[in-house]
Subunit: 300 residues, 2 copies
Amino acid sequence: MARTDDRFRSAYNTLLDICGSMGVGEQLPPETALADRMEVSRTIVRSALQKLDTEELIKWEGRRKTLIRKPEKKHRLALAESAPSTEELEQRFLEWILRFDVPAGTALNVAQLSRQFGVPAHSLQEFLASLSRFGLVERGQKGGWTLLGFTAEYAIELSEFRMVLELNAIRQLLAQAPDHEIWTRLEALKSDHEALKEDIETRYHDFSMLDKQFHMTINSVVKNRFVIEAQKVISLIFHYHYMWDKTFEQQRNAAAIDEHLELLNALLAKDSERSEAAAVRHLRTSKETLLSSLRDHKLV
Amino acid sequence: MARTDDRFRSAYNTLLDICGSMGVGEQLPPETALADRMEVSRTIVRSALQKLDTEELIKWEGRRKTLIRKPEKKHRLALAESAPSTEELEQRFLEWILRFDVPAGTALNVAQLSRQFGVPAHSLQEFLASLSRFGLVERGQKGGWTLLGFTAEYAIELSEFRMVLELNAIRQLLAQAPDHEIWTRLEALKSDHEALKEDIETRYHDFSMLDKQFHMTINSVVKNRFVIEAQKVISLIFHYHYMWDKTFEQQRNAAAIDEHLELLNALLAKDSERSEAAAVRHLRTSKETLLSSLRDHKLV
DNA sequence: GGTTTTGAATAAAATAATTAAAAACAATAT
DNA sequence: ATATTGTTTTTAATTATTTTATTCAAAACC
């Protein structure tokens, strides 16, 4: 067999639904209409009609497609569950690298990984190709793929890149008009932080989510596809590290909240110098946390 | 047939060379040594030896591989010319988009493009996947690929991204020690610019190369894989536009040289404010040039 | 006669199958 | 005991095959 007929199967099922909503003896719409409605090509419509004909649910003669009897549950075709999306794959892949501390230089086995992640080898290949743009993997000379990161150097460079992008975001943010929605969002973030600070001893786990939201909000003012794409990976990696680095989590998060609040206050006061200083301070802490979590993990 | 035996063929030819440098009756080195020397696996060495044996160039019994007679020209295997590298493919692809002004939203046909560029469909697929990270192409819902850029919006965002990265580079550059090699390189660039300015009326075509060198030098102080990767695409796109936008080329280049010199002088004077201002001015001009060339081209 | 619909042929994309190459392992000769 | 070879297993690149999409001409309907 070559490609799957998932598309045909799901189309056939929706065609059964269409038949079900019609009366016996009625005519089915033309092929083109069905194709448009079901968002598939006419080829699929035709093969589905053929099957309906052989199942004796319709009588198909030329352009006359008459419903003979209503379809029942048994007529439906079973669907294979769809493979994870690219984003899911990305998450799973990065989680695998970070969680199992896969060392730099590891040869990646497309066949095995595709089984592991439950995606066609094809998709994984494409995914690795796209990751190669972030310097996380590389094509080997003798074929195959090699994992380059995740090293301390990678983390440093990622942090620096993050700093460049985020300082730019802050400069752009401060240039927004006073009636821009960003200001109300920052106010909301501020109260969220203050609330969490109150209950830090019990709810310190919630910080991870808040941190992600915080950085996303700040970066949301930058409407640039390159920056957005880069931020996606940055956030993913930093986020995952937060997830499983549990050393001094409470103190670390308490300190981070203060740093966030400092930046939020500076931003709301529209004090650009203080904002930049606060951002630099926080991003440096973040980088150190990332690095130390890497070191700790390497010792395990 | 499955994969090509190019690897075998070229290995066989180098093995012929090795035999040619030996005397008749001598023993060939062990398989592992040959494999190391030729940078292929032992499997290939063994199949090459097998062929040498059947061609009666060597006598192969156990670990005794005796050269019977010297190989001649007729024994060499013809090599298929190798497919273009990823970088070449990237260049050709971008050139194709920019040169033929392929509109945004065009469905890309992998089969046809792979023929056009003389690469396996497979490689093209991978290449498109990697380009998707730069938002230039996208996977279609019904399969296949769609070209998203190259629109004016894309150009604007690319220019802005470039501005962010290049201003960062300038800040880093100014922080370098006085004995860093960058300063002598800047001095050299300055005289190159002055020389070209003298002969601008005859040599204005040479500016394109000098521009590329100029931006590469400035960015070379940033040792960050993400920045480097991004710069590669940026430089490629800007460079190609320079290549075929011939309107007012001479005046434009003359003006750009002055902007470059202004920045170079500010940098060499280690005047950060003047440097940033000069950089912003030049990058804005660059952006306008890119945009106007896009507009002009659209009218053709 | 013109429009809509269908039939059939062609092209392309996704996946399986196939083959080349690499690596791992076991056996043998030095 | 070590170096080298023979054999087997795995992996990756490419072709082949099947499903799906598209195109174009013929036929049916108004």
